[in-house]
Amino acid sequence: MKLPRWFHRFGSPPYVYNLADAIAPWLGWAALVGIAVGAYWGLFVAPPDFRQGEVYRIIYIHPQTAYVGMMAYTLMAVSAGIGFIWRIKLAHAVAVSAAPIGASFTFCALVTGAIWGRPTWGTYWEWGDPRLMFELLLLFLFLGYLALRAAFDDRDKADRVSAVLAVVGVVNVPIIHYSVEWWNTLHQDPTVSNLSEAPSMDTSMLLPFLIMVLGFTLLFYWLLLRRLQAEIIDRERGTRWLQSLANEGAG
C-alpha cells in the first residue's frame, strides 16, 4: 500500500513532539471547559428522571468513561497495527501512551457502574450484567497488554510483540462483547446509541450528556498527547534535538 507524501512527517519524533506541544494546551483547556459546563448542566440544571430520580445523573460520568475506554483500546490496536506493518516507531509510541489511559478510564467505568448499581439494582456487583462483565474483561485486556510489554527489556521487541497481541485483542473484542451480551441481559437498553433516530432522552438531558462525551474525548486526547511527549522524550534520550530543546528551556 502506498502512503501519501505528507505521511512521512508523522514518523519524525521532533515534528510530532512539537505538534503535540502546540495542540495539547488547546485540547486541555477545551476539555476543562467542556467538562465544567457539562457537569454543571447535567448535575444541577437538567431535570431529575421520572423513574430513577437523581440517581440517573451517573449518565453524565459513567457512559463517557466506558466509551473512552473502548475508544482507547481501538486506537491502541490500530496504531500498534500501523506500527507493526509499516515499522513506524511513533505509532508504537502512540499505542503505548494510549494503554494506561484506557485502562484507567475502564477502571473508572467499573467503579462508577458499581456505585450506580448499589441504589438501582441493590448491589455493587450484579452478576449476570453483560456490560459490567465486558468492562472487566476489557480491563484485563489492557492489563495483559501492559504486562506483556513490561516483561520485555528490549523496547523494539516489546513494541512488535505487544502489537500482535493488540491486534488479536481487537479482533476478539466484538466477539467477547456479543458473547457476554448473549450470556445474560439485565442492563437497560442503550438509550442514545442511534443518533439518526430520535433518541429516547429529552433534549434537556441529552445536551449535557453529549457535552460530557465531547469533554471526556478531549480529555483523553489531551492526556494522550502529553503521555506521547513523555514517551518520545524517553525513546529519544540523548539525541541532539532533544538536548537543544532542553537547553532552550533552561536558558
Binding site: 474483561l137 485486556l141 504486562a147 520485555f152 510483540v161 500482535v164 467477547i176 457476554v180
Partner: protein, 233 residues
C-alpha cells in the same frame, strides 16, 4: 510442499511428545487434581441443603463451572513445550529459515498439540463430571462441547505461548493475556452443558462454539506465525 512440511512437523512433534510423557501427562494430572479437589472447598452438603432435599442442582451447576475452568487452566499449564523447547534448542529457527511456509509448520505443531493435550481432556472431563453427579446427557454434552471448544482453546493458548517465548517468567503473563480471550468459549461451553442438564436443546451454543473454532483455526495461525517471527528476530 506445504502439506509435506505439515506432515513432517506433525509427525516430529508427536514423536517428541511420546518420548516425553510427563510433559503432556502433567497438565492432565493437574486437571484431575483441580477438579477432583474442588469438592473439598465447596462443602457439597450445604449446596444440597440450599437446593432442598434430594436436589443436586447446586452441586451440578457448580461442577460444570469447575470442570470448564479446570480444563482452561490445564490448557494453560501445557503450553510450555509448544514453542519454548524448540526455540531453546534452535530448531524453531531452522524451521523458520527453511523454505517451507511457516504457516504449515504452525498448523503441524497445533495439530500435534491438540492431539496430545486436548484429546485426552475430552475423555477425562466426563469422568470427572461423575464426581459432580452430572447425569448422562450432561456428561455426553460436556465431552462434545469440550471437543468443539478445544481447537479455539489450542489456538488462543498457542498465541499466548508464541508471544511469550522470550520472557523468563511467562506463566503469569500468559494467564493474564489468554484468559480474557477465552471468555466466549467458556460462556458457550458452560451454557451448552447447563442446557443439556436441564434437558433442553443446546444447538445454539454448539453452533457458536463451532463457528469460533473455524474462525480461530483459519485466522489464529497467521497471528501465531507473526509472533514466532518477531520472537526470533
Amino acid at each position: 510442499m506445504p502439506l509435506r512440511s505439515f506432515k513432517l512437523v506433525f509427525a516430529r512433534d508427536l514423536r517428541i511428545a511420546f518420548r516425553r510423557v510427563s510433559e503432556w501427562g502433567n497438565p492432565l494430572l493437574f486437571f484431575i487434581a483441580v477438579s477432583g479437589m474442588f469438592p473439598l472447598a465447596l462443602s457439597p452438603d450445604r449446596l444440597m441443603m440450599a437446593a432442598g432435599e434430594g436436589e443436586l442442582y447446586g452441586l451440578q451447576s457448580l461442577g460444570i463451572g469447575v470442570l470448564w475452568m479446570a480444563a482452561l487452566l490445564s490448557a494453560l499449564m501445557g503450553l510450555d513445550r509448544l514453542f519454548l523447547s524448540d526455540v531453546e534448542d534452535g530448531s524453531m529457527e531452522q524451521l523458520v529459515l527453511s523454505p517451507a511456509p511457516l504457516l504449515s509448520v504452525v498448523y503441524g505443531k497445533l495439530a500435534a498439540h491438540w492431539l496430545v493435550s486436548a484429546l485426552p481432556l475430552i475423555f477425562l472431563v466426563p469422568i470427572l463430571g461423575i464426581v459432580y453427579q452430572l447425569p448422562a446427557p450432561a456428561l455426553a454434552m460436556i465431552a462434545f462441547a469440550v471437543f468443539l471448544a478445544t481447537p479455539t482453546l489450542t489456538v488462543l493458548v498457542a498465541i499466548g505461548a508464541a508471544l511469550t517465548v522470550n520472557i523468563r517468567s511467562a506463566a503469569a503473563v500468559i494467564g493474564l493475556i489468554v484468559l480474557p480471550l477465552c471468555s466466549p468459549i467458556l460462556i458457550f461451553g458452560a451454557r451448552a452443558t447447563v442446557l443439556a442438564l436441564d434437558g433442553d436443546a443446546a444447538a445454539g451454543p454448539l453452533y457458536l462454539l463451532t463457528s469460533l473454532a473455524f474462525l480461530a483455526v483459519s485466522l489464529g495461525p497467521i497471528a501465531i506465525a507473526a509472533a514466532v517471527r518477531v520472537g526470533l528476530e
